[in-house]
Structures are given as C-alpha cells and as structure tokens.
C-alpha cells in the first residue's frame, strides 16, 4: 500500500511538471545583474510593491556579466526585463543584444558607488596617492634602473618614507569580482600611468599587463566577495587595509576609517561632487520592448527615477547610493521619460 501511495505522489508530481511546462505570460517584473546594484534595485522593488503599483519584482543577484548575458538572450517573457550593471554596457554586449532582437535598450544611470581603501580606527591614518597604491599592489614595479622587477616593497614606508612603517597587508576582492575590475581601472591604471609613462608609449600591451596584475606574494589577500567579512577582518587586525564599497564604510564608521586618496577623504559629498576620484557609475538597463508587455514595467522605471527614490534625500541615498548631480539627474529623467533607447553611437 505504501508503495502504491508513493507511486501516486510521483505521478502527481510528474503531472505538475507537465502542467507548468507551458510558459505563461508573466505578471511580475524580472531583473538580473550586478550584486553591487542589487541593494538599491531591491529597495525600489519593495517600494514599488508597497505602493501597490504591481507585484513585487524578482531581483536576482547574478553579477554584471552574467546579468548581461541573460538580458541580451532575447525578447519575450522568458527573458529578464532589466539588468543591473556596475559598469556601462560593453560594445560587444550591445551587439549581442542586437543580434538576439533586443534592439531598444533604455539606459538608466542611477548614481555612483565609491570604492574605498580603509583600515581599522586603531591603525594609522593613511593618505595615499594612486601611484603609491600601484607600487604597493602591483606584481611588478619599476626597479632602480626603470626595468620591471618583482615587487620589493614589504612595508608602506619602503615606498615612501612618509607612509606609516607598517607591513603592506591589503584585503581585497577576488579576480572574479566587478569591484576588483573597477579598482584596477580606477586606481591601478592611473597609478601605473605616472610610474610607467615610457612603457605605455613603447609597449602598451606590457603596460596593460603591469597594471592588471596584482602581486601574489601574500601582501594582497583575496578576501572573498563578502565585504562584511573584510570589515570584520580589519576590525580584528589593525595592520591590515581593505578595499570595498563606500556603503560598507558608512555603516561601519564606528570601526573603520577611509584612507585619503590623492588627498581626498571618501565621504558622501566628495563622491557626489566627483572630488573623490575612485568612484564608478552604476546603471540599470531596461528593455523598451517589454514596456506594455510586462505589466508595471513603465511604473517601475518611473518609481526608480522618482524624487522619493533617486532624489538627494531619497531612500536610495539612505541605503548608501551616492546620487547623481541635480542637472545630470534631470537629464536622465528626461531620457527615461521619453523612453529614449540607447543608440549604437553612444560611445560604448
């Protein structure tokens, strides 16, 4: 008897599979993409549902690259309506989208995310330049004769006597992370440009390798994708320095302090005004073709750009998003309202 009942349950389950097999029209917005933008898009999704504008959108955290792949796979309810990105869409991704029929993409620049270099409150104050950070973290740096040698610097004061006499110990994101890519582009490349200007001219490929390769002798430690973990480790080890997003510095201001980079300390105002140079824009991309097909998508976009969300005192800025300057925000709103699609010559 037991087996008979088991068999009937199995049959039921199979029937369920068959019934669900036909894809039905969606009544729920689906968003994929970057884990950096995830905390902000989820907040908008929740407010959207709260305000009774529609069913709460499903927001997946897949990473920027993975999100783009899903987003560009096609048009229709089997594919996501929007993707979060911690960088601008690449030319190749745009082409890929086009090929799969995703011809009209609405680009929404939502704000900035500052990257901070921070250490424990118990540790020394850091005032670093990008050049010094490059010398501290690159695998190969120019030796006395200008040729690239394996990084000889063990402590910060080896690089510059004015820096603290502490061992270089930097906790940062792993190579798979978008944060790491941003750090390389925003800090290591400009830093390398100052130190290796000649190499850049004579051998651009070798130059690219030089700034893209982080040292592997234990001075730079992959601390995983989880920024909270880095904060905890910094708190436990006052010697160490960590690299992570600004919102984590803001929430943990009691334990850690941000290093000045090129003389500017990271805080809300310096990032918003662009004085603090290590910050990157965040984007959300929408499929124009889904507006009107997936209920509520236009209202969701409107909620995202509303004063309540993206404004200077909006709930997103309380979640740690550094908002766009007022004039740029007005421009973004205008574009989104007109549902202006991204064109191929947008300088991707």
């Amino acid at each position: 008897m037991k087996f008979r009942s088991l068999a009937s349950v199995a049959a039921l389950a199979l029937a369920g599979v068959a019934a669900a097999g036909t894809a039905e029209a969606r009544d729920q917005i689906r968003i994929v993409g970057s884990s950096t933008v995830y905390p902000f898009t989820t907040a908008v999704a929740e407010q959207f549902a709260r305000a009774g504008l529609g069913k709460a959108p499903v927001v997946e955290s897949t990473g920027t690259g993975g999100g783009m792949k899903l987003f560009c796979a096609g048009v229709g309810t089997d594919h996501p309506d929007a993707t979060n990105a911690s960088r601008r869409i690449k030319k190749s991704e745009f082409e890929d989208c086009r090929k799969n029929g995703v011809t009209d993409i609405i680009e929404l620049k939502v704000g900035f995310d500052g990257l901070t270099v921070a250490n424990s409150k118990a540790g020394p104050d850091f005032d670093l330049t990008k050049e010094q950070l490059f010398l501290a973290l690159a695998k190969e740096v120019p030796g006395p004769d200008g040729k690239l040698v394996p990084n000889p610097y063990r402590s910060w004061s080896d690089i510059d006597k004015t820096l603290p006499n502490e061992k270089i110990e930097v906790l940062g994101p792993p190579p798979t992370s978008g944060t790491r890519d941003s750090f390389l582009e925003l800090v290591m490349e400009p830093g390398a440009e100052k130190v290796l200007a000649d190499l850049k001219k004579s051998n651009p490929n070798a130059f690219a390798v030089a700034w893209k390769t982080i040292r592997e002798d234990g001075a730079y430690i992959d601390a995983g994708e989880n920024d909270n973990l880095i904060v905890q480790k910094l708190d436990a080890n006052p010697q160490a320095v960590g690299i992570f997003g600004y919102s984590f510095l803001e929430e943990n201001a009691a334990k850690i302090k941000g290093a000045k980079i090129d003389g500017v300390a990271p805080n809300f105002d310096t990032i918003a005004e662009g004085e603090y140079s290590v910050s990157r824009p965040l984007y959300v991309y929408f499929k124009k073709q889904h507006i009107g097909v997936v209920p509520g998508l236009d209202k969701f976009i409107a909620e995202y750009v509303s004063e309540k969300a993206l404004g200077e005192d909006g709930y997103l800025s309380r979640k740690g998003l550094v908002p766009l300057p007022a004039d740029e925000l007005a421009r973004v709103r205008e574009d989104v309202k007109e549902q202006k699609p991204l064109s191929a010559d947008a300088g991707l």
Binding site: A10, A20, R30, Y38, G52, V59, K161, S247, A254
Partner: protein, 585 residues
C-alpha cells in the same frame, strides 16, 4: 576474543615469568586506557568546537529575535487614508498612512516645529513598516477611521540598534552636586556644586595630551624621513607637514596644560547628554564648574536639580561615527523614560518574507521555498532512487551494461553541484521552458544531485539484509517479487531512510546549483506553489550576509539557526520513521 590476559600456560610457553606477564598486561591495559582517553578527548574537542560555533551564532542572532516598538496614538482620518474619500478597500489601499503617523509623532513631541527637525522626527524614528501595519489595521476594520487608536509602531533599524545597545556604548553617571539651570538665549547654562563637569573636562584634557604625543611622534617620524630624502621639493613638502604636526601638538599641549580652561565638545568626541528636569541637554562646551549646552528635549522647568536627581549620559561613540545623531537619540531616550518604547519578541521574523529594510525582513519566504523545493526533491528521488536500487540489486542481470551503469552512478555522486545547476539551466529552463526561480526547478535539479546518493545507500541497505530472509521467503513459495517487496525491502527501509535523509540534508544546504536557475534572488512574496518565484534558506543566508546594515548580520545568524532547526526536524523525522520500520532479528 582469545583469552590471553591471564598469566596462564600460554604465557609460560612464551617464556615469560609471571612478573613479566603482569607487566605486559599492565602495558596493554594502559594502552587501552590511553586509547579511550584519545577518544574522549576527540569527542570533547569536537563538542567544544560545536558549542563555541553554535554559541557564537546564537549570540550574534539574539538581536534579530527582538524588536522595539513605539506605543503611540494615531487618528487616521478619511482624507488621509483614502485616495478618493470612500471606505472602498481599493481606495484605502492607496491612502497616505504616513500622514497619520506623522500627526501621531507630532503629538508626542509638540515642541518640534522647525521643518528640518520635523523631517528628522518623521524619517528616522519609525520603520516604513509602521505605515503598512496601520494600513492593514484600517483595512481589517474601517470603523476605526476618524477615531484615536493606540498602535505599536515598529522602530527603524538604527533606532532599534541603539536601544539594543549595539550602536554605541552608554555610560550613565548620576549628578553628585546640586545642578542649577540658567536659560541663556538658545543655550542652557548648567552649574553643579560638585565637580561633575570637572571629571569630564579632565578626561578631555587627558585625550588632548594623548593627541599631542601622537602628533609629536608623527612629526619625529617625518623628520627622520626628511633627513633620508634627497629631493629638495620633497623635503620642503615634508618640512611643511612636520611644522603642521608640531603646531597641532603645541596647541593641544597648551590646551591640556590649562586645566581650568573650558573645552568645546565636537562631533568627533563622545557625546555628553544631561538628563535634567524631564528634558535632555546636549553639552557643547564644558568647564570645570559649569557647562553650556543646547536643548534636545525641552526641560519641564528651570528649578535647581538636587544631587542624584539628574544624570550625565556619555555616548562613547562620537556623533560623527554613528547613524543616529544626538537629537534622535535624545528623542528615543525621552520616549523610553515615558515608557512608550518597549521590546517585544519579533514574530515578524517568522511570519514575513524578505525585505530590504532590515527590521522588516523575515525568513518565512525562504523557509517555505526550501520546504517546497525539498518536497519536490523527495517526491521525485525517493521512488526513482529506491526503484533503481531494487532493480539493480535484486533483478538486474549482472553484465557489462549494468556494471557500466553502476560505475556511472558512483561517478555522478562525486560530480560538483554547480554542474547539476548548468544541466538544470539547459534542460529544465531552456529546453522544457519551466519558470525561472521556481522551487519546482530547484527540486528537480536537487533531485538529480541526490539521486546517486540515495541509489548507492539503498543498494547497500538491500545488500545488508541477510540472504536467509530472502531464501526463506522463496522457500515457502513466494515469487521473487514477493520476496523482495514483502520481506527484503521493509527490512532495508531504515538504511534507505538514512541514505535519503543524508542526501536531502546535503540538498538543503546547496546554493551553487540554485544560482544558475535563478533562485538567488530578492523575493518579497512568500511563495504559494511550486511554480512561484522563491528562494531557499542557504541562499537567504548568503544574500543577507552581503548587505551592509548591521541588523542584517544578526538576521544572517538567525537564518543559520532556522536552517539548523530545519535540519534537526528533518533528521528527527528520519529517526522517528526508522524506529517505526526497524526490525531486528
């Protein structure tokens, strides 16, 4: 087994004297005792690790299980809560419930009149969930519109953290002298007959001395660096910085030396709040006998407060380093004094889905998602797994083909779980077109993951049933199938159950395959069926652990406890079932 312990003829044959034999016996006994000690030590060590781990998780999870609520009276008016002036549920759903709450807060602090302060009062005290709760109350009983109702409004996560003592250290010292209050323009002058303020002043001077010493050290270090540099420009820049540090050090020293001179309290120093005459004053300037401050919560009167009837509260975390400023904290302290904020068990954590507001986030969505996923997995892989095991073990001919199948099953058990996720993505989502993020697909993928484990465990269980049982059944005329289903399988059931539970427990903790089929997602609604979008417990833990708000760290630990609880229940169920089916012979 064999009796070699006694110094008997055997020992004599080995040429051992009774003494030697006894010594050898002692050695053997000692070896055995040592081995037992190792065993106990290993268990004790494992036990300590377990206790430390679980204890740590429990301590971190505690703040997630309580929440602070503000008891307040609100009067929702029809204009506020209805979008078109009727009590139609649709219209009530679109109403502005925040307006009713704002009016309620205004009643609690009628003195707050400036725009900036009112905005602070409205934004930083209550959770956005409070308006939702009021909406639900009005929807449940529209008759309360226009009448004052007492509600328990959920506090915002930062306020909650402060009241739980997790935002800043808080030191409370009773005033030892009689305190005189003089209102002087916008500020208040406090004068104490005892050295209440002098103590704080001394602390500040001490800090200044420390700062001066640190600046001197820094200057000395830079001076050494300057001596070693050759570049002229660099040295000049350095000497400027050295002079800067020296100047700072001298200034701090001068201030520290003058023990009587008043000091200004800045946002980068611990805050000093004075609770006096029912109000709260934040000190801005402190001298040896008197202190000046701004009023955060108005004083009932300006009478002199006798010793012991007024207090100085020190918030050790400087204002610049916390999310709540002194004004909001003063309001909270005032509400606490009036008995209006109280701590409650957070049932919300177990009854609501995910939220981006840490104080409102609950585990129910993930719990139901996990339960649905496990249900699909169990329903699929138990019959298929046991069926496959019975056929392979009892009926299948032994040939190349079945050998090949067996090898493949064993290999599949060792395939990384992410591969099953990829398979699920390609098969169930792209080929069959099943919905993304659904427990159905999650269950299917996890069923593939645990099937090999169940088949292997079931085959082992079937193999361990004594052949005599099978032979006896066949001997009295049962068919092969009858022998298997009536006799062998019931006896193998405990082993099969154990294998299944191990497989299911493994599946419960998986996140990697779920990432690819879209279950690593923010989902507000609690799923109602196996085709609704859902997430699972380990995924929820992963997602919460990566958010910056401190209360989410507590929720992460609490979610781990819920996952462990789920596992305990599953294992308990398995033990229960095993007891019922177990047969001994």
């Amino acid at each position: 087994m064999t009796d070699i312990a006694a110094p008997s003829p055997g020992a004599r044959r080995l040429g051992l004297s009774p003494d030697e034999a006894a010594a050898r016996l002692r050695r053997r006994h000692a070896a055995e005792a040592r081995f037992r000690a190792y065993g106990i030590g290993a268990i004790a060590l494992a036990g300590i690790f377990l206790v430390v781990l679980i204890g740590d998780v429990i301590i971190k999870a505690l703040p997630a299980f309580t929440e602070y609520r503000l008891t307040m009276s609100v009067t929702p008016t029809l204009e506020q809560v209805s979008s078109d002036g009727t009590t139609d549920p649709q219209a009530l759903r679109g109403g502005d419930y925040d307006a009713a709450l704002r009016a309620g807060l205004q009643q609690l602090f009628p003195q707050v009149t400036t725009r900036a302060l009112r905005r602070k009062l409205n934004n930083e005290l209550l959770s956005s969930g409070a308006a939702m709760a009021l909406r639900d109350a009005v929807l449940a009983d529209p008759a309360i519109i226009g009448h004052p109702v007492t509600i328990e409004a959920l506090l915002d996560d930062a306020a909650d953290l402060y009241l739980k003592g997790l935002m800043t250290g808080r030191r409370q010292t009773a005033g030892q002298g009689q305190a005189q209050v003089t209102v002087d323009g916008g500020t208040v002058l406090l004068r104490s007959t005892a050295p209440d303020f002098a103590r704080i002043l001394a602390g500040i001077k001490e800090d200044l001395r420390g700062q001066a010493a640190a600046n001197r050290r820094e200057a000395a270090r830079l001076a050494a660096a300057a001596a070693a540099t050759s570049g002229e420009g660099q040295r000049e820049a350095l000497s400027r910085r050295i002079a800067d540090f020296e100047a700072k050090a001298s200034a701090a020293e001068a201030r520290a030396a003058n023990a009587e001179a008043p000091e200004t309290l800045t946002a980068s120093r611990p805050s000093q709040l004075v609770f006096i005459n029912g109000g709260i004053v934040k000190l801005t300037e402190i001298g040896a006998a008197e202190a000046r401050g701004t009023v955060l919560v108005p004083l009932a009167n300006t009478d002199a407060a006798p010793a012991g009837r007024w207090e100085i509260v020190t918030l050790t975390q400087p204002e610049a380093d916390r999310r709540l400023d002194d004004q909001v904290i003063a309001w909270l302290e005032n509400l606490k004094q009036r008995g209006l904020v109280s701590s409650h068990f957070a049932t919300r954590f177990f009854t609501s889905g995910d939220s981006r507001e840490p104080e409102q986030a609950g585990i129910l969505g993930a719990l139901v998602g996990s339960a649905l996923t496990m249900l699909v997995t169990l329903v699929l892989c138990l019959p298929i797994g046991v069926g496959a095991a019975v056929y392979l073990e009892e009926f299948a001919p032994k040939n190349r083909l079945t050998d090949l199948i067996e090898v493949n099953i064993n290999n599949l058990a060792a395939v990384p779980s992410i591969v099953f996720g990829l398979l699920g993505l390609a098969m169930f989502l792209n080929f069959f077109g099943l919905p993304r993020s659904a427990p159905l697909v999650g269950g299917l993928v996890l069923a593939l993951l645990v099937l090999p484990t169940i088949i292997i465990a079931s085959r082992a269980a079937l193999k361990s049933v004594p052949p005599s049982i099978r032979e006896a059944a066949l001997g009295i005329g049962a068919s092969h199938q009858q022998a298997v289903f009536h006799h062998v399988l019931p006896l193998a059931m405990p082993g099969i159950m154990t294998g299944t539970i191990i497989g299911m427990a493994h599946a419960l903790g998986e996140t990697a395959p779920l990432l690819l089929i879209g279950m690593v997602a923010f989902i507000v609604d609690v799923p109602g069926s196996i085709t609704d979008a859902a997430t699972a417990l380990p995924v929820q833990i992963y997602l919460w652990s990566d958010l910056p708000e401190p209360l989410f760290q507590a929720k992460t630990a609490a979610a781990i406890l819920v996952l462990l609880g789920f596992l305990f229940i599953m294992n308990g169920l398995a033990i229960l079932l095993r007891r019922r089916f177990e047969r001994r012979w």
